[in-house]
Amino acid sequence: MAGNRVAVVGVGQTRHRSARKDVSIAGLVREAAVEALEDAGMDWPDIDAVVIGKAPDMFEGIAMPELYLADALGAVGKPMMRVHTAGSVGGSTSIVAAKLVAAGVHQRVLTVAYEKQSESNATWGLSVPMPFQPPLVAGAGGYFAPLIRAYMYRSGAPRHIGHLVAVKDRRAALRNPKAHLHLPDIDLQTVEESFLLWDPLRYLDTCPSSDGAMALVLGSEAVADAAPNPVAWVHGMAMRSEPTMFARRDQVNPQAGRDCAKDVYAQAGITDPRRDLDCAEVYVPFSWYEPMWLENLGFCAEGEGWKLTEQGATAPDGDIPWNPSGGVLSSNPIGASGMVRFGEAAQQVRGRAGDYQVELKTGKALGHAYGGGSQFFSMWVVGSDKP
């Protein structure tokens, strides 16, 4: 990783819900931020800079909300920025914040990502019809479902694979008090019987719409060495983007995702992710994206991802748990989800994941986020030990 050492010294998040009617937007982000500060043993004056991230402004109808949130996040008199990279934003925001420390510009950076999408409606926000552009008739799932079909065809994966992920992640979420969906009765049958939204995606194969916020405190080596709680060292971080559409684009196994993974693994000394990582928190908003991303992220050969899922390799008791927190399938405040992945990976290597803690053998975990038409990727590898 380029630059000075940087660590996650504090993590906080709200209990994600379909609607947080008890708080304002400031109240929502504040809740996550305060928890992260307390975890870091810090107070507002300790923070040097604030970086926020969220998805399109239309979701809450507020343009450039960092302006309104400056007071709530202790940023008055300090530097503040707002990152927006579509669905990957929570991840890229974490990286921008981490780079401020890695570059030696700041010692302690607070970063928050959030969405209060109940103020409008996520489906509306994602598909505002724009003049002169081809009309969107199929919704967000309608963009990804055809790609999933193509994956199933290419790989020969049986139809139930996605449902296995839907069950696995919701069962994992039962041990995560912050997760939005707690579905104790979920099993393969209930998923298979749930409404077929976009063939082959069923209702329970898709993520919820959540209000929520996630916050991290990033600190320099000196700050991390003095932190009251175990920290997660950033061993590598990378971002890659490719255009939405271009000639001969592989939309199922995007090059940008592969390149991003290669970069972050090289930084972190990962040669075999399945073996070298203890777990991965990966942005899987539709169940089938687990086998697809298993391949994209190099956990197995192309075409083999579904087999890992089927074998239970990615279950909490498997050899490479994926989304032990319950993942995006259990909580999806869109702007925050990427940071939730990055933060949950950090919690695992800090040993602070409570009832959903995985066994640490290598002490390393992957955090992953993606967005747009599977075109924006941000990833980091965090570890219990210094890099």
Partner: protein, 334 residues
């Protein structure tokens, strides 16, 4: 470079951005208490740690970021009058948005007892009737809901004049403190198509599908937006692309009402690779039962009877009846 007087190839489109019904904003207990006060005809402020009285009360101290508690004796009733700290004049009010439909002053008003000021309208008739330092008092609406608009506007007070109290309001049955507001947000735009898109749409009006070829790569982009995304170079060479092609992949939609243009469920949305093009794009598939649609199916455009320079010219895509394309021929486009 861009010539400002160059007329667009297509007229602009009037675009409205509005979340139907308005944003439902929960306000939290601090803002909620202030708005409840407004509903009661009362302006409250909070005394901060440094002794300043802040209005409107924000949830967090602007200097220290400490949380402001929603209850406590740091809450003080202000006014009933105040003084103008700064003002301007709105000669052409924005109807349905600005507090008044007739010209008014926007002002920063410091209610008596406060150390900060709050923004509102002053209904003073002319810009000459207000100065910095003017004494003003709120004119309350009779119907109040818990919003900054419960004050219709402030009005100048004459010498020795006392402000009128808020009209009495009968609370609703089981009325609770204010927890939220609804905020309509409507913005209007005139959007133009862009040159490449306009040429494409004009092509549709002639029953043609226009693509753009990138000079260096020779890739043809159907419905190009003007550039080869791989290089950023303009797809300056116009090429006609066939209105036949292959379904590379698709899904079947079972959700009703996703879009005004969607047909009855179930319907299929597909990625289509047109003959002569190097990119795919989304299209509706009709004219075949959804469970007979498959990857590799050859389709052709169903053109509308009346062709216009917009996306309605191609109604949908339907099977040609030809044998399916071999997977090898389109697998590189998925």
């Amino acid at each position: 470079m861009n010539a400002p007087s160059e007329a667009s190839l297509l007229p602009p489109h009037h675009h409205v951005l509005e979340y139907p019904g308005g944003y439902t904003r929960s306000v939290g207990p601090v803002v909620g208490r202030f708005l409840t006060g407004l509903r009661d005809g009362r302006i409250e402020g909070v005394r901060l740690a440094d002794g300043r009285v802040l209005v409107p009360p924000t949830e967090y101290d602007p200097t220290t970021s400490a949380a402001v508690a929603p209850q406590g004796d740091h809450w003080v009733t202000l006014g009933p009058a105040g003084r103008v700290q700064a003002f301007t004049w709105v000669a052409q009010p924005r109807r349905g948005k600005h507090p008044l439909d007739r010209p008014f002053a926007f002002a920063l008003i410091r209610p008596d007892g406060a150390d900060t000021s709050m923004l509102h309208a002053v209904d003073c008739g002319s810009p000459d009737a207000i100065v910095v330092g003017s004494r003003v008092a709120p004119r309350w609406r009779a119907e109040r809901s818990g919003s900054v608009n419960d004050i219709e506007a402030w009005v100048p007070l004459g010498d020795g004049e006392e402000p009128d109290p808020a009209p009495l309001r009968v609370p609703e049955q089981d009325e609770q403190p204010v927890t939220g507001i609804v905020s309509p947000v409507r913005l209007e735009y005139e959007i133009n198509a862009g040159e490449a898109t306009a040429r494409y749409l004009l092509g549709l009006a002639q029953g043609k599908i226009i693509g753009g070829r990138a000079p260096s790569s020779d890739y043809v982009y159907a419905a190009s937006r003007g550039t080869d995304p791989m290089t950023g170079e303009p797809t300056s060479i116009e090429v006609e692309v066939h209105d036949t092609g292959v379904v590379t992949t698709f899904c079947v939609v079972n959700i009703p009402g996703l879009s005004e243009l969607a047909p009855e469920i179930p319907y299929a949305s597909a990625q289509i690779l047109l003959d002569g093009a190097d990119n795919t794009f989304f299209g509706l598939i009709r004219g075949v039962p959804v469970d007979e649609i498959r990857m590799g199916m050859r389709v052709k455009a169903r053109w509308a009877d009346e062709l216009k320079p917009d996306h309605t010219s191609i109604l949908w895509w339907e099977p040609t009846g030809e044998p399916d394309a071999d997977y090898e021929t389109y697998k590189g486009y998925l």
